[in-house]
């Protein structure tokens, strides 16, 4: 408790110093929190209006010795425009063969626990599972469950930190802290470019506030309607030397998916 407060205190001192040196444009009557939220919201909202999406992906896990294993999966997402409710999503594994058809259905919430069901095709069994496990590894990868399920704007509080350059782009540096329970992170530092407002990199700090992982988002493409998507995500774990990349295929948007495609009853049709 005390150290948390101390953290907050030192952080605000640091921010005040930055604002003082003119590193920030937040001096225009806007707090760092307001500006941070504004940048994050502009980035988040630039991707909305897709209604639904479907995409295939290949996940490659690399251990510290450089040995790799892959899994193929697909994602279906139903967008819910209201920022006070989360999206619905379905993740289905196609390889390795022994887990083919295993699926995770998630109804994301903002601050309450998500509703999640797991489908086990060998038994034809649908299991409601606890979503309290935010920080656990997703199928042995360097991605935690929350890295997938906690992408909603209002799941975080934001603070504008300053400007930087990354990969030849001018980027805004925005720090976000999870508002939901059971997060494995004390904070995340994201870089959002100033040109098309996409997240390019996120540093994840664990509960001890040491750098745990870095996510790099690249190969962005713009789809019809101004919807941007990264096609390569690479998560590097600095503490274990392991990494996981996810390579996405072409997205299909507005595919006609509806609420009925995201109920536990449809899981039995998968395999």
């Amino acid at each position: 408790m005390f150290s948390n407060r101390l953290n907050k205190f030192t952080k605000s001192v640091a921010l005040a110093a930055m604002i003082g040196t003119g590193l920030s444009t937040a001096a225009l009557g806007q707090t760092a929190e307001e500006k941070g939220f504004e940048i994050a919201a502009r980035s988040d909202r630039s991707d909305t209006g897709f209604e639904s999406s479907e995409v295939n992906a290949i996940m490659t896990l690399t251990n510290s010795a450089g040995r790799t294993s892959t899994r193929e999966l697909y994602f279906k997402t139903l967008e819910r425009e209201n920022e006070d409710v989360g999206d619905k999503s379905l993740t289905v594994f196609e390889t390795p063969r022994d887990v083919q058809g295993t699926a995770l259905l998630s109804h994301a919430k903002i601050l309450e626990a998500d509703d999640q069901w797991l489908y086990l095709p060998a038994l034809k069994r649908v299991k409601r599972i606890s979503s309290a496990n935010k920080s656990g590894p997703f199928v042995g990868s360097e991605f935690a469950f929350e890295d997938f399920t906690s992408t909603e704007l209002n799941k975080y509080e934001y603070t504008y930190v300053g400007e930087d350059t990354f990969d030849g782009m001018t980027v805004d540096v925005v720090e976000r802290t999870p508002r939901y329970e059971n997060s494995g992170y004390v904070r995340q530092v994201s870089l959002i470019d100033q040109d098309v407002f996409q997240v390019r990199k996120i540093d994840f700090y664990d509960r001890k506030n040491s750098l745990l992982k870095t996510l790099t988002l690249s190969e962005y493409r713009e789809y019809e309607g101004g919807v941007w998507r990264a096609h390569l995500l690479t998560m590097e774990n600095h503490q274990t030397g392991k990494s996981t990349s996810i390579e996405y295929g072409d997205y299909a948007f507005k595919t006609g998916l509806a609420d009925n495609d995201f109920v536990k009853g449809v899981l039995r049709r998968i395999r």
């Binding site: 409601r128 309290a132 496990n133 042995g140 049709r269």
Partner: protein, 388 residues
């Protein structure tokens, strides 16, 4: 309904081959049984076709086991063989299928559609394909599914050579039924409603037809048992409450047979400790109480061991790239202290191989307990499966 589309669409063909060695720790007690090693081979095919529109799909899953010791365990079954049409709100399928109902881990009480393939294992996880016509609708008030089952599947039983059997040998040719014309079953019906409301998942079920659990009656030949499948009506309810790391589970049935109407229930919890290691392993602890009010007279009711028993178990998921996990549990009879337990471990090697170790053991078994016929049948199974 739409007309059948021309062939085209997506085909997916797969197969698995499993090699298994089951080893019994103690010598057999019943005449004819083998003593120690039981090698066998499992073969499963998997053919799927889906129409371009996605509305039609066809599934074929043939299964065979070839056993080195027990010729009754050598058998073939179509686990699945159905054609399905799926619309936005309605799904219709016809053929052989597998269905799972319920939430509990230690006993599958409401789950009644499929017959168990008990020559595979006595854990009631292996099921025979059930011929059915199924109509299901998903609405905003939940999912409602109706089943018409025109053909009955008799339970499989190990042969004279096999371990984990009763004192007698069950002869399926002697099977009789309380419905239909005694020699064959009539049509069975079932209805299932399933939904979730916030943190609650709710299932209600109804079944009328031939019980999947036979009474085993003596025949006019010594040591040969004749299965009798009573005509039953059963109502079931299953509930799960999911909150934080807790899963609270409850299942109950009321079954009417020609002899009695009784209730049975299983309920308990699963609590998970997440991230217990640096690498993010999860440990789940489980406890479930089992109650069954059926008659203890073998002439009136199929016997059950789960009448007043407590299950305690643990599940360790390593969450590594090989999906390594461990499961262990013990069921204790609260009347006489008889115990049966299991330990299972599983991991993937490379992309196509899975290695599993399963041990089942019986300890402190009371002479009067049903388990007493298994008292020397503690065993361990090593299974290596190749996926194609």
């Amino acid at each position: 309904m739409a007309s059948m589309p021309a062939m085209g669409g997506d085909f997916d063909v797969g197969a698995t081959v499993g090699t298994e060695l089951r080893t019994f720790f103690e010598d057999a007690t019943l005449p004819g049984q083998f003593d120690t090693f039981q090698p066998s081979l499992q073969l499963e095919g998997d053919v799927r076709w889906q129409s371009d529109s996605g509305a039609w799909d066809l599934v074929l899953v043939p299964y065979a086991r070839i056993d080195g010791q027990d010729n009754r365990r050598t058998h073939f079954d179509m686990r699945e063989a159905f054609l399905r049409w799926s619309g936005d709100e309605w799904t219709v399928r016809a053929g052989l299928a597998k269905v799972f109902w319920g939430v509990a881990e230690s006993r599958h009480l409401v789950d009644i559609i499929n017959q168990y393939d008990t020559v595979e294992d006595i854990d009631e996880e292996d099921k025979l394909g059930q011929p059915m016509f199924e109509v299901s609708t998903i609405q905003n008030w939940g999912q409602l599914t109706g089943y018409v089952m025109p053909v009955f599947r008799k339970r499989t039983f190990v042969g004279r050579d096999g371990r984990l059997r009763f004192n007698g040998i069950v002869d399926n040719d002697l099977a009789r039924f309380g419905e239909g014309d005694e020699r064959s079953a009539d049509v069975d019906f079932a209805l299932r409603y399933s939904h979730f409301i916030g943190d609650w998942d709710v299932g209600l079920s109804f079944f009328h037809g031939a019980s999947r659990e036979p009474r085993l009656l003596t025949s006019n030949r010594p040591d040969i048992l004749a299965p009798f499948y009573d005509d039953i009506t059963q109502f079931g309810v299953d509930l799960q409450y999911t909150k934080d790391a807790w899963l609270w589970k409850f299942e109950s049935i009321v079954r009417e047979t020609p002899f009695e109407t009784f209730a049975a229930a299983v309920g308990g919890f699963e609590y998970s400790f997440y991230g217990i290691t640096e690498s993010g392993a999860d440990l789940g602890v489980l406890m479930e109480y089992q109650y069954d009010g059926r008659s203890e007279d073998f002439f009136e009711a199929a016997p059950t061991i789960a009448d007043n028993d407590l299950f305690v178990g643990a599940r360790l998921a390593m969450n590594d790239s090989q999906d390594t996990d461990f499961l262990g549990g013990i069921v204790t009879d609260l009347d006489d202290g008889s115990m049966s337990g299991l330990v299972e471990a599983s991991t993937r090697i490379g992309d196509f191989w899975v290695v599993e170790l399963e041990s089942r053991f019986f300890v402190n078994v009371d002479n009067q307990n049903l388990l007493s016929v298994f008292r020397n049948d503690s065993n361990v199974t090593l299974r290596v499966t190749r996926y194609f």
